[in-house]
C-alpha cells in the first residue's frame, strides 16, 4: 500500500500548489472531458503538451507520475487486450473463433492507452499538489451555487472533509489490526478464494467497530463545540481567486478551442 502514489499529496510550493483548489478541479475536470473530444494526432499532441506543461509547473519529479501509472497498469493492459482481441472492423489480420485481430481494434487500443495516460497524468497533478482538505474546500466552493436549490452544501462538504480526514486514521488501524491478526496466524492473501474472503472477517469486524466508535466520539466532540447543520461556517484557510488561476483556466480554454478546431 506504501507504493500507492496515485492519490497522494506531496507538499510543495510551486505555482500549481498555490492555485485555488476549485480552479484546479475545474481545470482537471475540463481537461478530462476534452480528452474524449480529441481524436487525431494534432489534438492528442496538444493535449499531451498541455498536461506536460502542468507537470513541469508542479515541480514534482517524473518518477511520481510513472509510479502513479503503476497501480492502473493492469486495468490499462486488460482494456487494451480486450480492444485488441475483440475489437471489430477494418482490416482483419488474424481470426480464431471470436478472437479477432483487426486494424480498428489495434487503433482503438492505442487511442485508449493514450487517453488513460493523459487522464491519469492530469489527475495525478491534481492529487499530488492538492491536500485532501483543499480538495474538500474546492468541492464546497464549486457546489456553492447549488445552495439556491436548497442543497446542503455546508453539510456535504463537511462530510467529504471528515471522510478524507479519516482515511489515514483508518488506514493505520487497518494495518494495526492486520498485524495483530497476522500474529495470530491469519494469512491474508493465501489459499483459495473462500479462505481469503474468510480471512477478512477478523479484519473487517474490528474495523467497523472502531469506525462506529470514531463516529460516535466525533459527533459528541462536534456538538460540544457548538456544531449545527447547515449554518454558514467560516474557514481558517480561505482561497481567493488569483491571476494565476485565471491564466491557467484561460490556457485550458485555449486548448479546448484548438481541439475543437483541429479535431476531425
Amino acid at each position: 500500500m506504501n507504493n500507492f502514489i496515485f492519490g497522494r499529496y506531496l507538499p510543495g510550493n510551486s505555482l500549481i500548489h498555490k492555485m485555488n483548489p476549485a480552479a484546479k478541479m475545474l481545470i482537471a475536470f475540463a481537461y478530462i472531458i476534452m480528452v474524449f473530444f480529441a481524436n487525431n494526432l494534432i489534438t492528442y499532441i496538444v493535449m499531451a503538451a498541455t498536461v506536460l506543461l502542468f507537470v513541469l509547473l508542479s515541480k514534482c519529479s517524473f518518477g511520481y507520475f510513472i509510479k502513479g501509472l503503476m497501480p492502473m497498469l493492469w486495468v490499462i493492459i486488460f482494456t487494451v487486450m480486450i480492444q485488441v482481441f475483440f475489437g471489430s472492423g477494418g482490416h482483419v489480420y488474424f481470426s480464431w473463433g471470436i478472437v479477432k485481430l483487426t486494424s480498428y481494434g489495434i487503433l482503438n487500443a492505442i487511442v485508449l492507452t493514450i487517453r488513460f495516460m493523459l487522464i491519469i497524468a492530469m489527475s495525478t497533478v491534481l492529487t499530488l499538489t492538492t491536500s485532501p482538505l483543499e480538495i474538500s474546500q474546492g468541492i464546497s466552493a464549486l457546489l456553492k451555487p447549488l445552495k439556491r436549490f436548497n442543497f446542503p452544501v455546508e453539510t456535504f462538504s463537511l462530510m467529504i472533509s471528515i471522510s478524507l480526514r479519516f482515511v489515514p486514521t483508518l488506514t493505520d488501524e487497518t494495518k494495526l489490526i492486520m498485524d495483530a491478526q497476522r500474529s495470530r496466524g491469519v494469512d491474508f492473501g493465501d489459499g483459495g478464494l473462500i479462505k481469503r474472503v474468510k480471512a477478512f472477517v477478523p479484519l473487517l469486524i474490528p474495523l467497523f467497530v472502531s469506525a462506529f466508535k470514531h463516529a460516535d466520539d466525533l459527533s459528541i466532540a462536534m456538538e460540544a463545540r457548538g456544531y449545527q447543520t447547515n449554518r454558514e461556517r467560516s474557514h481558517f484557510h480561505t482561497f481567493k481567486w488569483k491571476p494565476n488561476d485565471f491564466v491557467c483556466m484561460l490556457l485550458i480554454l485555449v486548448m479546448a478551442i484548438v481541439i475543437f478546431i483541429y479535431r476531425s
Binding site: 489490526i177 495483530a180 491478526q181 500474529s183 469486524i205 467497530v209
Partner: protein, 291 residues
C-alpha cells in the same frame, strides 16, 4: 541460557527512495536470552514499535538479520513459511482489545490456536488454560466480547494471544488506558508468565515504575538506535542519563534520593515499592538500636 532473540545490525527504512523516506531503525544489535524479562523504553517515535514488529517478521529488516530460535530473517526471507515462527511469538499490541471480532469470548480466544491447526478437545483445553491464566470468569466465555468492560476485554485479547502457547511474549504498552487495578493485574500476570511458564517477555512501556520493578534488563532507544542496554538499577541510578533521554525517574528512586539528601542513606537501592518500605523500616529499627 540460549538466545531467544538476536538482532544483528538491523536497519529498517520506511518508504525507501521517496521524499518520505524514514529511517526507523539504524544498526540495531541486540541479544535477548530465553526466559528473560526485557523492557524496551524510549520516547514516542524512537523505533520501539518498529523493533518489536521485527520479532515475528511483520516487518523484515532492510539490512541486517533477526534470528529467532533457529529461524533467520533477512530482507530476502519469503513471506510464506512464517507460520511456525508466528506461533512461537505472542504479540500483544497497544489496545489489543481492538482485535476482538468473534461472536463469543471463547471463539475469539480459540481463533489463534485454530489458525495454527489445533482442533477438538485440545483446542478446548487450550482455551480453558488461557482463560485461567488471565483469571477470566468462565461465565464470560459464552458472552460477546463487545459486552465486556475495558479491563475484561484486554484480558480476553491477551488470553487470545496466550492460547497460541507462545515461547516469547511481546507486549506494547499493555497497561495503557486501564485503571490502576487493571494495570497491576496485567503486570502481575506478565510476571507470573515469566516466572512460572518461563516465557521470554519483551515489554514496551512508558511507565518507568513498572519497568524498574519488573524487568531483568532494560533497552533504551532513541532516534532508531539502541543507546543503552543494562540492568534496571544501573539505569535508574543515572539520573543525568534519564533526563537526557526524557525518561521519568521511578518514584522509588526519587524517594531514595530525597532521603539521601536529608542525610538518610539506605543500604541499597530498591526498585520495588515493598522492598523500599522494608529497607526504610530496617533503617529506622537500626537507628533505634544505635540510640
Amino acid at each position: 541460557m540460549d538466545n531467544a532473540i538476536l538482532f544483528k545490525n538491523v536497519s529498517h527504512v520506511y518508504q525507501e527512495n521517496t521524499p518520505l523516506e524514514f529511517h526507523a531503525l539504524e544498526d540495531v544489535s541486540l541479544k535477548i536470552k530465553s526466559g528473560a524479562f526485557v523492557s524496551i523504553i524510549g520516547k514516542t517515535g524512537s523505533g520501539k514499535s518498529t523493533l518489536i514488529k521485527h520479532i515475528n517478521a511483520l516487518l523484515k529488516p532492510t539490512s541486517g538479520s533477526v534470528t529467532i530460535g533457529d529461524k533467520k530473517i533477512t530482507s530476502h526471507t519469503n513471506n510464506k513459511h512464517l507460520k511456525p515462527l508466528r506461533q512461537k511469538i505472542g504479540m500483544v499490541f497497544q489496545f489489543p482489545e481492538q482485535q476482538l471480532f468473534a461472536e463469543t469470548v471463547e471463539e475469539d480466544i480459540a481463533f489463534g490456536p485454530s489458525n495454527f491447526g489445533v482442533t477438538g478437545d485440545e483446542l478446548n483445553d487450550t482455551v480453558m488454560h488461557a482463560a485461567n491464566l488471565v483469571h477470566l470468569d468462565h461465565d464470560l466465555l459464552k458472552k460477546s466480547p463487545f459486552d465486556l468492560s475495558g479491563g475484561q476485554k484486554r484480558r480476553v485479547a491477551i488470553a487470545g494471544v496466550l492460547a497460541m502457547n507462545p515461547e516469547i511474549l511481546v507486549l506494547d504498552e499493555p497497561t495503557a488506558g486501564l485503571d490502576l487495578e487493571g494495570q497491576q493485574y496485567i503486570l502481575d500476570l506478565i510476571r507470573r508468565l515469566n516466572r512460572e511458564e518461563n516465557m521470554t517477555i519483551v515489554l514496551v512501556s512508558h511507565q518507568m515504575d513498572d519497568v524498574a520493578k519488573y524487568s531483568d534488563r532494560v533497552v533504551v532507544m532513541s532516534g532508531g538506535k539502541v543507546v543503552k542496554k543494562c540492568y534496571p538499577d544501573e539505569l535508574f541510578t543515572d539520573v543525568n542519563f534519564l533526563n537526557k533521554y526524557d525518561l521519568q525517574v521511578p518514584e522509588t528512586v526519587k524517594i531514595t534520593k530525597d532521603l539521601a539528601d536529608k542525610g538518610v542513606t539506605l543500604d541499597k537501592l530498591s526498585l520495588d515499592a515493598d522492598e523500599l518500605i522494608n529497607g526504610i523500616i530496617n533503617k529506622l529499627r537500626n537507628e533505634d538500636k544505635d540510640e
